[in-house]
């Protein structure tokens, strides 16, 4: 609100600069090593395009799942403290510490054809998730979910509860209060959480290849394509990585008014 905005504390700018350089340098590295001549060639290859579209579709679907399931979980976690809540908080964090490949293994143990739930699912409904697009979405959602939940819950905890009271006195149902009052107030955290979840899903590799396989055109997302290229040479992989980065940068830039709205 202050247009004479408070100056940044000393040192902040310098450290922020270091952070930005740390993030930027590897990208420049990729950029500088990518054989540019190949970029257009790669960008028009049908497999690469397939992988890009698949990545976009699956990561979008995974982000939607993450939101639909993660937001209720965050809301529930934000309730009055109890032993169960603490347990669930720890539980939500744990999948993040698993290396994604192990996450994929765990998913197979759970949802594979011989898995805890996968076996009955296959026997009774004939549904099998591994090695399908749905499997990709499941793997990505599983990996991305904790990120969204924790970010959203952080927002909820910082929110001023009295607005919820105000909405209730105006006759709003809990549902309406949630949609019209709570969510808009924590929008920045939700946005951050969605961004985290989407990016995490888009870049997800280990769980996907383990749970959903690496089938060209079906489950081979861009990270898997990049990984396959890495078998040939780091340079080949960097072309595809640059493509992935450009592509997601493009998406972010297109949606910048949604991700990063001007206050």
């Amino acid at each position: 609100m202050t247009e004479r905005s408070q100056p940044l504390p000393r040192g902040v700018r310098a450290l922020a600069g270091i952070a930005a350089v740390l993030l930027l340098l590897p990208l420049i590295g990729l950029w500088s090593r990518a054989p540019w001549s190949e970029l257009t060639a790669q960008a028009t290859q049908p497999e690469v395009l397939d992988a890009l579209w698949l990545s976009l579709g699956c990561s979008a679907a995974a982000t939607v799942c993450t939101f639909v399931l993660g937001l209720p979980l965050a809301i529930w976690m934000d309730g009055p403290p109890s032993g169960l809540r603490t347990a669930v908080r720890v539980l939500v964090t744990l999948p993040m510490v698993l290396p994604p490949v192990v996450g994929g293994v765990a998913l197979l143990f759970a949802f594979g054809r011989n898995g805890l739930v996968g076996a009955p699912l296959a026997d009774w409904f004939g549904v099998s998730l591994p090695f399908t697009e749905a499997g990709v979405v499941l793997a990505e959602a599983y990996i991305a979910l904790p990120f969204f939940v924790l970010a959203a819950e952080g927002g909820l905890r910082a929110m001023d509860r009295r607005y919820v009271d105000a909405a209730a006195t105006l006759g709003a149902s809990p549902w309406r209060t949630l949609v019209s009052v709570t969510l808009p107030m924590i929008a920045p955290s939700l946005r951050a959480g969605l961004l985290l979840a989407w990016a995490r899903a888009l870049g997800e590799f280990g769980a996907t290849i383990t749970f959903a396989g690496n089938l060209a055109g079906r489950t081979r997302t861009m990270p898997l394509e990049v990984y396959a290229a890495l078998e040939t040479s780091p340079e080949a992989a960097s072309v595809l990585s640059v493509l992935l980065v450009l592509f997601s940068g493009g998406v972010l830039f297109t949606l910048r008014h949604h991700w990063f709205p001007v206050r």
Partner: protein, 349 residues
């Protein structure tokens, strides 16, 4: 519908124990010192806080019967609550804030907006419909909060200092508007105010809450006649004390006051600041109560000066600005105080 409540509720250091019986045909002004529990009481009535023990009942409906028992949540109580700090939803326009109540009651967007616009105009801010709450001044926010509460068509009105930040002109109109609204409103109406003017202009009855308890309830004349506490005396602007009368002399914490009507036992004594005479020298003459006291403060008010003196019987005197100048009150020191016995009202406590 009558509101009958018997409330016990602890929160932080406050221990609220209040029994209420409010009719639908009266407006009650809740007054009391800061931290007395006024806002807490409103929150209990609105259902934002539950009672620890007791019962809140509106007509035949039990709203709250204590933990684990019947409880009607706030959104089903149809209360119109103006919060002390407004709590306008920051992400919505002013119009949407006001339309929030009707929308929650399933009005169509159109209807909700048009009724919101009507309410905005009633509080004199029709042209702010599109503004964001962050762009409002304090007083504007308060008026919008009032419009928002009223637009929800409540059955019970709880207004927490609804006019505190409103300017003089708007106050005149808003008070009038509010009085009409309150009169036309068929339901329980409670408003918290700090100014006796607002209480008088808007309420039929005052309820004095101190430290979680109701210490007095009644009309202004009743409060003026026998203020139950220092706070009430200050509120109504008179000098009032609790004392013990023995043979025409009232003992107030050691100080003696001679009064005209003598009824032995504990009594309220009150006298108006205008009934107090002030002198630089010891006066000779009829007043039976004469004493010397140090000047605590001299406060100019409209067409008069309020003089506060200390000593064993701290009182307020009201004199003309000319008298104040002649007495050189501004210079401090001691003055002589005289109060005629006949000016002191006494009633059994």
């Amino acid at each position: 519908m009558r509101l009958r409540a018997d409330i016990e509720r602890r929160i932080g250091t406050l221990d609220l124990r209040v029994a209420l019986d409010l009719g639908p045909d009266e407006t009650v002004a809740l007054v009391g010192p800061n931290g007395a529990g006024k806002t807490t009481l409103l929150r209990v009535l609105a259902g934002l806080l539950g009672v620890d023990r007791g019962k809140v009942q509106l007509g035949d409906t039990v709203l709250d019967a204590g933990p684990g028992a019947a409880f009607v949540p706030p959104q089903e109580r149809r209360v119109g609550y103006v919060f002390q700090d407004h709590l306008l939803f920051p992400g919505m326009s002013v119009l949407d804030n006001v339309a929030f109540g009707p929308r929650s009651r399933r009005a169509t967007r159109r209807d909700a907006r048009s009724s919101a616009q009507t309410w905005l105009e009633r509080v004199g801010l029709g042209d702010l419909a599109a503004a964001r709450p962050a762009a409002l001044s304090g007083g504007q926010a308060q008026r919008i909060a009032l419009a928002r509460a009223l637009a929800a068509e409540p059955r019970m009105l709880l207004l927490d200092e609804p006019l505190a930040a409103v300017d003089a002109t708007a106050r005149t109109t808003l008070r009038r508007e509010l009085r009409e609204l309150l009169a036309a409103f068929d339901g329980v109406r409670v408003l918290v105010v700090h100014s006796i003017d607002d209480a008088l202009a808007l309420a039929d009855r005052l309820l004095v809450l101190e430290d979680g308890r109701i210490v007095q309830s009644g009309t202004l004349p009743e409060l003026v006649a026998r203020p139950a506490s220092r706070y009430v005396a200050d509120l109504v602007g008179i000098n009032g004390f609790l004392g013990h009368c023995t043979a025409g002399v009232v003992d107030v914490a050691g100080a003696k006051l001679v009064v005209a009507h003598a009824e032995d036992g504990p009594v309220h004594v009150t006298f108006h600041p205008r009934a107090v005479s002030v002198f630089r020298e010891r006066p000779s003459g009829s007043p039976r109560n004469v004493w010397s006291a140090p000047i605590v403060s001299v406060e100019p008010a409209l067409e008069r000066v309020r003089l506060q003196v200390g000593g064993p019987l701290p009182i307020v005197a009201e004199i003309t600005p000319r008298a104040a100048a002649e007495l050189r009150l501004a210079e401090g020191g001691d003055v002589w105080i005289a109060v005629k016995a006949t000016e002191i009202a006494v009633s059994t406590a």
